[in-house]
């Protein structure tokens, strides 16, 4: 598996660290179903998913990777700082 880092270009999977699903953080700090979802519930889709990865052994950037869990196709890689998590 290779990912095209927007900063460094195409790199081997060994340079990247996988964090988990890229989720929108709920607004506000009051506890509610949105926060419960954010902390505990994951979809585990057979298909397109968005994950957070870090180019840990490269430029250090946090990335949002859109990929297909069925075909293993990587559809997009964007800087988390620009795309928003």
């Amino acid at each position: 598996m290779r990912l095209v880092c927007p900063v460094c270009g195409e790199r081997d999977r060994r340079e990247f660290y996988y964090q988990g699903a890229a989720l929108a953080r709920p607004d506000g700090s009051d506890w509610g179903p949105d926060w419960e979802d954010y902390l505990h519930n994951r979809d585990n889709p057979a298909g397109v998913t968005r994950d957070l990865w870090q180019h840990e052994q490269g430029c250090g950037a946090w990335l949002i990777v859109t990929r297909d869990t069925v075909t293993h196709e990587v559809l997009a890689v964007a800087l988390a700082a620009e795309a928003g998590a």
Partner: protein, 195 residues
């Protein structure tokens, strides 16, 4: 009174050779991390140009020349190598002294890319990784950097505390590449197919 003496990261362990390959320690230079403040990258580049004669390097590249160089070193980060940083740079960037933080080795000789290919997952072919290119990558499972200074002249950097491991790993790879190159059946005719 204890007499303290400064030692380089590779003190007493370098140089080593294998066939035509040579691994040595680069004479220590002043090294400073430059991390531009938000929106200050262009102003920093101008200040660098005025004070040190080189601008901000693009991702994966170096600017300047021997004695005064800027090496890209991560997202929004570069390493100023050689000069004492001009105080004016501090208006645009955070400056962090790195002079003693890194082991900086020079790998020279034909077959150097074959040695590096055993240690890191980069594409090091001539048409991809050229003179003046640099990459942050993993080197023998350590976070490091690899730069190409010339056709057969490479730099390898890891944190200073890992210097011994790096020297061991590179030397082992050098001996294996040299052995293959010297073996008439395995080495010589394979070697010229590689970059």
């Amino acid at each position: 009174m204890v007499e303290l003496q400064a030692e380089s990261p590779g003190e007493g362990r370098l140089p080593v050779t294998a066939g035509d390959l040579r691994l040595s320690e680069v004479v220590r230079e002043r090294m400073t991390w430059l991390a531009p403040y938000k929106g200050q990258a262009a102003a920093l580049s101008e200040a660098m140009q005025a004070a040190h004669g080189m601008g901000w390097p693009k991702a994966g590249r170096m600017t300047g020349r021997k004695g005064a160089r800027a090496m890209w070193f991560g997202r929004d980060m570069a390493l100023l190598i050689g000069p004492e940083p001009d105080p004016g740079l501090a208006a645009h960037a955070a400056l962090v002294d790195q002079s003693d933080a890194w082991a900086v080795l020079a790998l020279e000789g034909p077959g150097a890319p074959e040695v590096l290919a055993r240690l890191c997952p980069l594409d090091l072919r001539d048409q991809v990784f050229k003179r003046g290119h640099v990459a942050r990558t993993e080197v023998a499972h350590m976070a490091g950097a690899i730069a190409r200074m010339g056709a057969d002249n490479w730099r390898i950097m890891v944190f200073r505390s890992m210097a011994g491991t790096l020297i061991h790993e590179v030397e082992t790879a050098m001996r294996r590449v040299a052995a293959r190159r010297n073996s008439p059946r395995e080495g010589a005719d394979r070697a010229h197919h590689l970059p």
